[in-house]
């Protein structure tokens, strides 16, 4: 092959066909179909890689060209010979080629316009959004408004109050053992386990109360019983204190 033009330089099968027709300086309305088909197939065979999507489009036109070539070579059926309106098998293809060629020229014209217009710049409205933009967050806000806002903030800062001495409440198990003993001994019946924990208390208080309870059970002051799994636990005071 004396020349090889990469197929991916063509926008499609029509683009390639028009290229071949123009290169050969052939009248588009009178395409020597056998020769053009041969050249077209030669290009396909020179394809350097196969992109199946694109290939199918080029192959479709190839089969159409071969079909037309066959129609021209085969003698027309006898009964058709007398009819004057025998369609040229190339006609439909030529129509499509002419239309495509027209839009290819228009595309070139648009390309020229685009290039010319590329030299004329408009204001970048997206970027200029900080001066009289579509959105003006500071619309109507003056510098003195800003300063006034700062003054207001300054004025509203509360005077620092004297430091408040907070004493941490000390918790220990021994104290809790005594506290629990007093509560349980004062009652005249058993308590529910959950009643021993105040509704509002810290995690530490819960732990200390629980440890104190275990201690009381260990010392034998208290027994615990449960009637069913996950049921309420009853705490009974046994006395001895």
């Amino acid at each position: 092959m004396s020349y090889k033009v990469r197929l991916d330089n063509f926008e499609g099968p029509f683009d390639l066909l028009i290229y071949l027709i123009e290169k050969a300086e052939i009248d588009i309305y009178d395409i020597p179909i056998a020769r053009i088909t041969e050249e077209y197939l030669e290009h396909l065979s020179g394809w350097e890689y196969i992109d199946l999507d694109a290939a199918s489009e080029f192959l479709l036109l190839a089969s159409r060209l071969i079909e037309i070539k066959a129609k021209i070579l085969l003698p027309a059926p006898i009964e058709d010979i007398s009819r004057e309106d025998i369609a040229d098998p190339r006609e439909e293809l030529v129509e499509r080629l002419v239309e495509y060629r027209l839009f290819r020229r228009l595309a070139a014209t648009l390309g020229e316009i685009a290039q010319r217009e590329g030299n004329i710049f408009t204001k970048d409205t997206a970027k200029s959004a900080d001066w009289l933009p579509r959105e003006r967050p500071l619309r109507g806000v003056s510098l003195s408004d800003l300063t006034a806002a700062f003054w207001k903030v300054l004025a509203e800062i509360p005077a620092p109050s004297p430091p408040l001495a907070l004493r941490e409440k000390k918790l220990n198990v021994d104290d809790k053992v005594e506290e629990l003993s007093n509560i349980l001994a004062a009652g005249d019946s058993s308590f529910l386990f959950r009643e021993l924990f105040p509704t509002v208390c810290t995690r530490l208080e819960i732990i200390v109360t629980f440890l104190a309870l275990l201690e009381l059970i260990h010392r034998g002051f208290v027994t615990a019983s449960q009637e069913e799994n996950f049921g309420d636990i009853f705490i009974h005071w046994c006395g001895r204190l």
Binding site: F14, I28, A54, R101, F103, L106, A114, R116, T122
Partner: protein
């Protein structure tokens, strides 16, 4: 509250300020509404503004595109502006995109199928690119099976190509489908 007092120096200057702020093309109606003007006065002022730009050799020019007036730079400053914008990539349309755009522009409204049968290739991705670049848009649905989308060009297309109107597209001469070398005479 604003007190509207006409202390501005001239109508062309007022219109220049409006066009500057807008960035995009403003129609005569928009200009008249904002400046509280009659259409004739606005047009006169626009002509005067255009003349001033010419006379004073400014860096800006006034153009009538997409049915409105727009301020833009003069072409001779392009190299310097490109240097300013530096790395920003240029919006160059591929041959495939230009062919598709040409078909949409001249034959609108068209379906994807119409374009594919003219170009002989699938155009899905090219159509998406053109829609993303806001050069074409969906303008409706064709009646019939599948109700396919109809595409047309946008106002941005007109602005980008410096066209006043879609009819302003370069016309094809009477027998433009014929090229030299085509011998067939019209039947």
């Amino acid at each position: 509250m604003w007190e509207v007092v006409t202390i501005y120096q001239s109508l062309p200057a007022l219109i220049e300020a409006l066009l500057f702020v807008a960035g995009t093309p403003l129609t005569i109606t928009e200009i008249c509404a904002a400046a509280d003007l009659a259409a004739d006065d606005a047009k006169l002022a626009l002509r005067e503004l255009e003349a001033q730009y010419e006379r004073e050799g400014r860096g800006l020019q006034l153009r009538f595109v997409a049915g409105g007036y727009q301020l833009c730079t003069r072409a001779e400053y392009a190299p310097y502006i490109e240097s300013l914008l530096g790395g920003r990539e240029k919006n160059i349309l591929s041959q495939a995109a230009l062919e598709t755009l040409a078909i949409v522009a001249y034959k609108q409204p068209v379906t994807k199928h119409d374009i594919e049968s003219i170009r002989g290739v699938r155009v899905d991705s090219v159509l998406n690119t053109l829609v993303e670049k806001r050069l074409i848009k969906e303008v409706g649905r064709k009646t019939g099976p599948g109700r396919p989308i109809l595409y047309g060009t946008t106002r941005e297309f007109l602005t980008n190509f410096g066209l006043e109107d879609i009819d302003d597209l370069p016309q094809l001469d009477a027998d433009s489908s014929r090229l030299p070398g085509d011998r067939k005479t019209g039947k």
